[in-house]
Symmetry: C3
């Protein structure tokens, strides 16, 4: 199934509007482009809604949130909802400060997400469970299955809790993905880019669970593939080879 | 001629003030630095004009436009015009939303560009021709020669229409460049970086047509060279090798 | 001593709040992560202080300064001072425009830096000595020992003057570092990333001079190591291998 959906992305080249943080913009654009999507980044309140409605998917990532960005995110998310364009929310660092907790609430009060993705600490926070976090990273893993299910139920969405095992839930079913590599944790924005790739997969013809599983599994396989490349000698060379792997056939990745 | 002008950039190391989008800032700075220029990025209204007047060239790229950035761009462009510092405008995504169309008009009402560069869809839009676009990318190619000539005439500038064949015009003459590689299209900001490199070339002693041709041709040759590198295995490794190639002798690139 | 302090960073993984410029955010985050720190970037006035107080170090870098960023920097710096969190200031381009000169003064009026780092031109400007600069780069080297000592005295801080030889002073003692490689000068943000790594080292148990020396020396050794890598063929491949080297054992680097 993952093969079929990834191939579909490569045929349709969905335009994904990334309202994301300033740290990862370049990496997210290159990764999404390698994967087969068409990235666009636009943070002005003046045209965020117009671009969202032209797009096949919208990503809202609060990593380096400011008030003007937050206003653009809400405009884009609402506009996407009106046209049934899928919306992914990545609540980066939501547990770190009260400002971020409130910002997420302001978004969710006005925007219905198709999917929410985050690490265990972030996702737990959204349903009132406290896990240890360090800055924007999760330290404890907690019970990811319970967290995914609760987030999906509470926000009427698909939940993707990333970690050594990724857990996906629609509030009833649970799916897990084991593909991946620890070196992803050494590349800034690897979680953020997965949000963009998830937005692209949500434009395909599978069910929401299948689409989310395709994104997580392909991403993990690409990381495994990159880690095996002979020129990889650390996180810098890994990042370049990971972008390469995102452009490969999924059959080649599994081989 | 291209050799001479590129070598001149490497001797003079022109300071280029890049008012560009947030997605490509790092790639543009590294590419321009590899090429031989001295990049500076400054987006504050408070000193955009001062920095423009210290510079040997100014690039205005509206890729992730916001109102504060737009105001800084206009201040920098006007200041550059006063001191005869060359100005390149890259109207990224100008056809995508009315905000971007109006923003370009606000810039052009106050700033005289030395050159305008863009893909066929963007450049066509500037002279009232509608081509198919997708986000910030051009889908149709149209008649690039006609488009280049019309843009050059209408805005009294040099026009560079990028594509499989790049077309350059001053409104009368037409020059074309075939050097290049399709993998450039898989690297975010490859068009944007060409704008920075064009700004550097406009500080040399050739005619405007020669300077623009030198930029486009060198850029294409560097892409070809990078594509032949044995460690290139996809867009991630290509991007790193492309930066390497931008730092090479042009004679080495043609060899 | 450098080995001990770098190993300490890798054990404690200090959370470093980087209020830095938009050009280098991704490179700084990846470099700091490779080195062993935990990067966080947050530029909102709403939570810059909260995040600074959660952190083990704060970096203030004025490379692409705007007024909202400046306000966030001052809030973060003051909050860090209250909790004895070390603060590094990198006065990028401080001599280039009066806005930047004044902005540095506004920061220093409210924030006590643990260390100030910059190139010779920037650091000289802070103590009223004029050196030739070009954009954000220093051209002349001047008497770095005198400059370092004066900056340290005037601002009651540790001064790190970068250059072919890095000079460190606390106002009385002088230490120098010769490790390094000229290719660092071909990678945008290599000076900025050193500021983030210095902030991480300031969280260890050495004296301020030892901590600063550890950062400068490790950084130079990593550059030397990367320059020797067989796949390095220019600044693009060097940058990736340099990130790799930042993740290595310091004993491996010296070998």
């Amino acid at each position: 199934m993952a093969i079929k959906l990834v191939n579909e992305v490569r045929e349709t080249k969905p335009l994904i509007h990334n309202l994301t943080n300033e740290v990862v913009m370049n990496f997210s654009a290159n990764g999404l482009l390698a994967f087969g999507g068409s990235p666009i980044m636009a943070m002005a309140e003046e045209d965020a809604a117009d671009i969202a409605q032209l797009s096949d998917g919208v990503l809202i990532n609060i990593g380096t949130l400011t008030e003007p960005h937050l206003r653009a995110m809400i405009l884009a998310g609402k506009a996407a909802n009106q046209k049934d364009v899928p919306v992914v929310i990545d609540p980066v660092g939501v547990a770190a400060t009260s400002y971020r907790t409130e910002a997420f609430q302001r978004i969710i009060d006005e925007v219905q997400p198709t999917a929410i993705k985050g690490n265990a600490g972030e996702m737990a926070h959204l349903v009132g469970i406290t896990l240890e976090t360090k800055g924007v990273d999760s330290v404890g893993e907690g019970d990811s299955e319970e967290i995914a299910k609760k987030v999906a139920e509470k926000y009427n969405t698909i939940a993707l809790v990333t970690g050594e095992t990724d857990v996906i839930s629609d509030g009833q079913e649970i799916m897990t993905n084991q593909a991946g590599h620890e070196w992803l944790g050494k590349v800034t924005g690897s979680g953020c880019l997965l949000g963009s790739i998830l937005a692209a997969c949500l434009s395909t013809s599978g069910t929401r669970l299948e689409q989310t599983m395709a994104a997580a599994r392909f991403y993990g396989l690409a990381a495994e593939r990159a880690s095996r490349h002979t020129t990889v000698n650390g996180p810098g060379t890994f990042a370049a080879c990971f972008i390469d792997a995102l452009a490969m056939d999924i059959t080649k990745l599994e081989g």
